[in-house]
């Protein structure tokens, strides 16, 4: 990213004060994780989701989503024709931009640009099987996603936000995309982990069978459009997690469908 030299960017080598308290805190966290979660949820409980469509008035379609403390805003903009200089595509193209707000996590700017790009790519791949791209030959659709606050399960929340933004933009889709995350700590499934739980699952001294898995699915056709797993785990546990995730996604779908039908009713009344 180009640096704005006129602006004060702060010193180059500062570090978070949190590392001085972490040693104590880390221990506490590990001891605490005995099956009980900080927010009094059961292990297999999902946090509450809130979706608001048309959150950005300038965009063709937009969506603001909250999953517990994770807050994401997403906008889909007008279709653009791809410049003649590049190769003709008989399918539409998606461009996905994914950014963390600098203040979205415990430590400022703790996510590198590379990680953001990789997440953007994953979201793009998940959306490619959602949107009817054959209806927009040689056109590009831009999706912009901004994480306002990160409290775990960012990828799955972002995928749902983007999916709903497409619905809000009235761009034809095959289905409603739903997505959820499970973290494994010592082989125990923790549904919809908070960032603290994610940190335990991927810490430097994780217990065996650890990791996080995110599955995005299109439920009416039983299709999985994206899987991302990272960790170290026995295959059987993954298969169990897949089953669980698909169940959760079905619950999400009921709510998202309700949001869509509310939108339609509202628009119908206005006309």
């Amino acid at each position: 990213m180009p640096f704005d030299t006129k602006r004060i960017n702060g010193p180059d080598n500062t570090f978070s004060y949190r590392q001085f308290i972490d040693a104590d805190k880390d221990e506490k966290n590990k001891k605490e994780f005995t099956g009980k979660r900080n927010d009094n949820r059961e292990l297999l409980d999902h946090r509450k989701i809130a979706v608001q469509l048309n959150a950005i008035t300038k965009a063709k379609g937009s969506c603001y989503i909250e999953n517990g403390n994770t807050k994401i805003i997403c906008g889909v903009f007008e279709l653009r024709e791809i410049a003649k200089s590049s190769r003709y595509n008989d399918k539409g193209q998606l461009y996905c931009d994914f950014k963390y707000a600098p203040f979205s996590r415990e430590t400022r700017k703790s996510v590198t640009e590379n990680e953001e790009k990789s997440l953007a790519m994953s979201i793009k791949l998940a959306l490619e099987s959602l949107v009817c791209l054959h209806e927009f030959p040689n056109y590009q659709i831009d999706v912009f996603i901004m994480v306002l606050e990160d409290d775990g399960a960012v990828l799955s929340t972002a995928v749902m936000a983007a999916g709903m933004a497409f619905v809000d933009a009235s761009i034809s889709c095959f289905d409603i995309i739903t997505s959820s995350t499970i973290a494994f700590i010592d082989g125990i499934m923790v549904v919809d982990p908070t960032s603290e739980e994610e940190d335990i699952a991927n810490s430097t001294n994780p217990p065996e069978n650890h990791g996080t898995i995110t599955i995005s699915s299109l439920n009416s056709m039983d299709q999985i459009s994206q899987v991302i797993f990272n960790g170290f785990i026995e295959p059987q546990l993954l298969k169990d997690a897949k089953k669980q995730l698909l169940e959760i996604n079905k619950v999400h779908e009921i709510y998202l469908k309700k949001v869509v039908s509310m939108k339609i009713i509202k628009e119908h009344r206005e006309t």
Binding site: N114, E128, P235, K239
Partner: protein
């Protein structure tokens, strides 16, 4: 991945081949193409390997350098992967064309090597909080004939097997400055246990079946594909790498297929690495040029 136009008839031919378990180059669905490996190919790198799967040709060089551990991981070393897709390999990589693929592969490698059970970064620490080794793993794609993920991960594993880190004989803390003494003997060095290092496997779904080691043509025919990282009999990563979707049950098949294939491949790889090392020591291999 690579632009290679296929007609509908050609695609159907490949699809039928996969259905009959007889692919267009004579392989069955879970066969790999012939592989070639060679370690210690670059004298200026501490560990290097060249790995080919058919015409996918990968060259890896590793250089260890001394760095300061990051403050939140004081007793861990570092590893960094850098993939370079040169335009020699595929014309699509020209200019900035290969950048996206390169960063995808880099990220995938980084994820697979992130678990301490797959690769132990603690062994790279010299003096906690002050000094550690940082391994720069530079990956060059010389030729591309599909299945880059597998070829690259195998090449990296071979290079890490070949890696020799100079032994630190003493590390002293002198008033905030670190005094490192490295061994004078160049053959006195530390090695990495390569047995549990993960390998990546690309699985393509063509028609109703999953195949391993897709060629470029098969990559073009597939509706969806995923990369699975396997270490021993555990899974380290799963990542879908193309825009298609697949049925929920396919995920189970995909996991089973990779676990069995990767286990076999890993055994064979370690065996041939050891064999190759013995041959190198007894100077049995006669080389007429660098690439041959």
């Amino acid at each position: 991945m690579a632009y290679n136009p296929l007609s509908e008839a050609e695609k159907i031919f490949i699809l039928h081949g996969v259905q009959d378990d007889f692919r267009n180059d004579g392989r069955t669905r879970n066969d790999f193409r012939p592989m070639e490996l060679q370690t210690n190919v670059i004298a200026s790198a501490s560990g290097s390997a060249r790995f080919c799967i058919a015409n996918s040709d990968i060259l890896v060089g590793i250089k260890p350098e001394i760095d300061i551990p990051s403050p939140n991981k004081p007793n861990e070393g570092k590893i960094e992967f850098l993939v370079d897709c040169s335009a020699n390999a595929l014309l699509d990589f020209e200019g900035r064309g290969g950048e996206e693929l390169a960063s995808e592969i880099t990220n995938c490698l980084k994820l697979t090597y992130s678990s301490p059970y797959a690769f132990d970064l603690k062994s790279l620490c010299i003096l906690p909080k002050f000094q550690c080794w940082k391994l720069y793993v530079d990956i060059l794609i010389l030729q591309c004939a599909g299945n880059l993920y597998d070829a690259i991960s195998l090449a990296v594993k071979c290079a890490l097997y070949n890696l020799r880190i100079p032994r630190v004989t003493s590390a002293l803390l002198d008033g905030g400055n670190v005094d490192l003494v490295l061994s004078d003997d160049p053959s006195d060095c530390d090695r990495i246990n390569a047995e549990s290092l993960p390998i990546l496997m690309t699985v393509c779904k063509i028609g109703d079946y999953c195949i391993v080691d897709p060629s470029i043509d098969e990559e073009n025919c597939s509706t969806s594909s995923a990369v699975v990282g396997v270490s021993g009999n555990k899974i380290t990563t799963i990542k879908t790498i193309s825009g298609g979707s697949f049925h929920a049950d396919t995920l189970n098949n995909l996991i089973d297929l990779t676990i069995t294939t990767a286990k076999y491949l890993n055994e064979k790889l370690l065996k041939s690495l050891k064999q190759e090392e013995r041959q190198m020591e007894s100077n049995k291999i006669q080389k007429c040029s660098f690439l041959n």
